[in-house]
Amino acid sequence: MTIKRILVPTRIPSALRIYLKAYAKQHRDTLESSCETMLFLFLQQAPWRQGLRWRTPLTTHSDEGESQGWRQFNLPVTVELAARLESQANQLDISRSSVTYTGLFWFAKYICPPVTPL
């Protein structure tokens, strides 16, 4: 049985994308699946209720057309998760891409921060 998925678009910094890929590889998971888990946990824990601020994703290119180090990130998620993200965004009057980006940011910064070899 195939689970229907829809794309949730956002923008994320290139470095965060590298982190997400490294995390997925390390946990023997796919990028999409691991991001889905992160967003699921984000909605479950609702850290914004404890004071986490929402992050606003930048555009991939500046007005002058220069790259800002951000990339388009279209995440395929289950219909249910997409609806929950949408509903959360509507409740708080912010964009869905902001909810998605903050969720990934929250996981990278607070839940499973990266390390580098010394």
Partner: protein
């Protein structure tokens, strides 16, 4: 073009090659009757041998088969007295035999492996063999490595449980017990073992990644990410500790496993005689059930947090500038009631009667002894 040296030779003067790489003349997978030896014999009886055998002269009246051993055996079954044969002079008998057989794709991987090994012993390099046989060098390497697979894998290949040489090659690198388990399951379920099955088995063997495992990044990418993550946001007062504890505890105790956390263990020692005691020191260290069952309550709050999870305070605090301090993880283990009592005895302690949490009690005992 060289003239064809065709003769009708008495069948008694022809003998099979003892080094013939094809050993199974009746391949089990050949369902078509015309392809079996009996079917071929019947065909020869009706139409004769359409394609002459290729032989080389051993002496004036003795010839050895290069290719056409099945036709020769079928001719014997059909009681022919002479067969058409082309007498050739070649010093690359094995290569010719292999080329002929590979083109028909009827040789088993093990037969190919043996033949390739023989060619290697004759001094041919993998690249040369691959070129001559029209195979990829990797295929030749894998086939030649099939010589080293265990006897169980060879048997499974002969039975048709393993078809892919790559699967057999990968399977040989699994622990022996895992190999036997895979073969047993395939035999039981009448299935073949593919590369995917071997990959999954290998995944089961290696330790699963810890949910605590931090993501390893190259220095330059790490610095770039840290720069982004550390950007201060005004009036953010978020403490992630509770979220981290909740998430990792959930990951530690998946629903399909036995309970491992101290909170879930409420068995007394007496009850434990029937059921094993699950102990997870790491979880024991972070649990708090309000009944004083773990000693980390005595530790200062800061060290308690650090022993379990790295402290993460919201930016612009410094911890994110350096790698977080990671806790030492001890994998969970299970003791039988008898082992539990022996362990406690070894440590010189007797479990108090009516002990509600044997796992937590033992962990605390070990910790207190280590501290002393």
């Amino acid at each position: 073009m060289k003239p064809v040296n065709l003769h009708f030779l008495p069948i008694s003067q022809i003998e099979p090659d003892p080094n013939q790489p094809r050993r199974e003349m009746e391949a089990p997978d050949e369902m078509n009757e015309a392809r079996t030896l009996a079917g071929l014999s019947e065909s020869i009886r009706q139409y004769g041998i359409l394609q002459p055998l290729r032989v080389r002269a051993l002496d004036k009246h003795r010839f050895c088969i290069i290719s056409g051993e099945r036709r020769f055996k079928a001719a014997l079954m059909a009681n022919l007295t002479e067969v058409p044969a082309i007498i050739v002079e070649t010093d690359q008998v094995l290569l010719e035999q292999l080329t002929e057989n590979i083109q028909r794709k009827a040789m088993t991987p093990l037969e190919l492996a043996d033949a390739i090994r023989q060619l290697q012993r004759d001094g041919l390099a993998v690249r040369d063999i691959a070129k001559q046989l029209g195979l990829h060098p990797t295929q030749v390497t894998i086939l030649s490595q099939l010589q080293t697979v265990s006897e169980e894998i060879r048997d499974a290949m002969r039975e048709g449980l393993i078809v892919s040489p790559r699967a057999a090659y990968d399977m040989n690198r699994l622990p022996y017990r895992q190999q036997l388990r895979l073969i047993h399951e395939a035999r039981k379920n009448h299935q073949t073992i593919g590369q995917k099955d071997v990959q999954n088995a290998r995944r089961d063997v290696t330790d699963p990644p810890s949910p605590y495992a931090p993501t390893l990044m190259a220095k330059i990418e790490y610095n770039a990410l840290m720069e982004i993550l550390s950007q201060p946001i005004e009036s953010e007062h978020y403490d992630p500790t509770a979220d981290r504890l909740a998430i990792f505890r959930e990951l530690e105790t998946p629903a399909d496993k036995e309970p491992v956390s101290v909170e879930t263990i409420t068995l007394s020692v007496g009850e434990c005689r029937e059921r094993p005691v699950n102990i997870n020191p790491a979880i024991a260290g972070i649990s708090s059930d309000g009944e004083g069952r773990h000693e980390t309550r005595e530790e200062p709050e800061s060290s308690h947090q650090e022993s379990v999870l790295p402290p993460h305070s919201p930016c612009p605090s410094p911890p994110l500038d350096k790698p977080p301090v990671l806790p030492v993880r001890i994998p969970s283990f299970t003791l039988k009631p008898v082992e539990f009592e022996k362990f406690a005895d070894l440590l010189g302690e007797v479990p108090p009667p009516g002990l509600a949490d044997p796992g937590g009690w033992l962990v605390n005992l070990i910790k207190s002894l280590a501290r002393d």
